[in-house]
Subunit: 427 residues, 2 copies
Amino acid sequence: MSSSELSALSPADLTTFVATQRTAYDALKAKELKLDLTRGKPSAAQLDLSEELLSLPNGHTSAAGTDVRNYGGLEGLPELREIFAELLGVEPSQIIAGGNASLTLMSNTLINALLHGAVDSERPWSQEETIKFVCPVPGYDRHFALLESLGIEMVTVPMTDDGPDPVATAALVKDDPSIKGMWIVPTYANPAGSVCTQEVAAALTSMPTAAPDFKIFWDNAYALHHLTAAETKSADVLSLATAAGNPHRPVIFASTSKITFAGSGVAFLAGSVDTIAWYLKHLSKSSIGPDKVNHLRHVQFFKDAAGVRAHMDKHRAIIAPKFAEVQRALTDGLEGRGIAEWTKPAGGYFVSLDVLDGTASRVVELAKGVGVALTPAGASFPHGDDPRDRNIRLAPTMPPLSEVAAAMEVVVTCVLLAAGEKLTSGL
Amino acid sequence: MSSSELSALSPADLTTFVATQRTAYDALKAKELKLDLTRGKPSAAQLDLSEELLSLPNGHTSAAGTDVRNYGGLEGLPELREIFAELLGVEPSQIIAGGNASLTLMSNTLINALLHGAVDSERPWSQEETIKFVCPVPGYDRHFALLESLGIEMVTVPMTDDGPDPVATAALVKDDPSIKGMWIVPTYANPAGSVCTQEVAAALTSMPTAAPDFKIFWDNAYALHHLTAAETKSADVLSLATAAGNPHRPVIFASTSKITFAGSGVAFLAGSVDTIAWYLKHLSKSSIGPDKVNHLRHVQFFKDAAGVRAHMDKHRAIIAPKFAEVQRALTDGLEGRGIAEWTKPAGGYFVSLDVLDGTASRVVELAKGVGVALTPAGASFPHGDDPRDRNIRLAPTMPPLSEVAAAMEVVVTCVLLAAGEKLTSGL
């Protein structure tokens, strides 16, 4: 097969093309595959990098002499907060270390704002008639599901290569006081892989908002998860916001879920000192303190910020070849066909694949038919609804490299077959 | 000094008595003590019993072959749920294992009910004009603080030797649909030490309630924390409720906070299968799963339910002498004086001391003046308001035995001095 654009083929050639792809697809079916590219989970080889954690900590005493086995210390172990303050570009007084899930910190922050109001709110958000959040799309499905479960409406803006479209965002928030916040995955966005530039961050932190207590939920889940030696630095959102006179606008989230163990890491929340005090005040009603033994365990394992960075190099060595295989398969199979575009991320956990409009669901269905599980089409949009039915999120970290290659052969074949079906459906 | 009742003394003898106690008090001041009986925290010696946990787990695979280091398994590790199902008298399908704090599970349960409604609610509790909870007093201050922070009103009933007064409770809940639930610490109550009998539990689980979705928050924090060989068994609240046709009424909470490590244990929530499904549905929005490495760590440490029971015997060996010292000091110093009563718990973490009406705050103030921190008077009542200003919660587990003895000498002296002051104030 040549790799000319499908839309340039004659009807007869298109029909032949579909038949060829159907044959290829049936051959894949005979392989009885059972592969999974659905979720951004670390592989066993990545988890093995942190195996030493299982026999730590040595001793049970913090640098300040605290017995970490007992109650207390709601803000988390100081030495762990110091390490991640450095990595996230904030002061130790601006960060707390919590439990095993940043998603829980996000949920808590939203629920606190609903029930009590944010740190700078006039009243609880639940007393507003309507609350909305700006959601860059494509985005993270769990962000959207969380908002939906809390009855918060979603308005979308495009995710660009430089972060959420700042002009579209500013236009939405300037006159509508019901828009109380927005999501951003600033570095290596889920799933687009884009990095929010300092300029876009400056625009978002300084833009006028009708809601005086507007919040940027800055979910920096992949801040340190580089796929290249460039090691992009995240925009300094807290300093920018403070300089713009909106110090309480950003609430920063991060975790070691994809650094150490996905279920047994440590999550972090950062923001202005007032934001931290606000969060801790509400947290004190539902917790006597986080798992400080796990904090100490992580401190002893990492030693310092440089230790975290060195550890991430080892992750990169494992997952960069998988991302390279995804790019190779997509380029070899789809480039020049005029039916697909995809991201080439320099970090993070995902490749975002846009196929021919109206065929994403069909691609996922076809892949399932030959034993390859893909994230449901539309998952990266609020309510799972991709208006163009074209976006598919690929998550290549979990399977071994050989399985990534096998699964990507399926993806390419399904994208081609679905496009061919679509283009011939009107013949 | 004889130990006749103070109220029987002549004015002159009373004045002499106060002077004697003042001298004793001043002598204590000279010792420059720094002691703390405020909170129910395990001592370092108790925490040492679980030191092996710091180098567990061996390996990272569950009985079912799950890699516990990765995401997932929202309901917690099956083998840990089995152990605590047996200990708490429920089925494994009726219990989940969560993070490090049962208080967080209680808070989540209340917030879910507020925002979404309980499993059997017609609508979210937040849509009711008023919500109230029945609070047995004296009770656990964090229960009350949690309700207060969520705007839930509190109505009190007396805590008897057999649990919350069932007649008073039934009378409150039968006609008032705004009363949505009640707290109970059923076994070795905080602070009263009483044990809710099977009969009282039967009454509470079967009583008619105006609210169709009435909940019993059954905080069984001390289920296994026996101070005597009797090892009282908790009432079987879930079976009783099911038999009474109210299967969704109890929500059971427990944790290993005072079994292994106070900040790094595992918390449990139990209830009807529908209650569990309801809880997990909402939890799935804010968590991808609990710390299963810590679950496996606890499984390997305990091995089985008998392992937990054997472990609790070691706790008892450490703390029973401290409780004995509290009893000795109170008996030697206060018995027969007619100014104090106290509980003789067979388990749990507290002794509840009732002093002469109107003197509890003064006792706490006096103790502070000689370097002994006591829980603030009134702490065991909603809003910290003990209407008779007589209740003081003593928590003897944390300090070494010698410090318990020293602190109790202060307590006794302060109780006597405050009573003497009170009785002479009208002379």
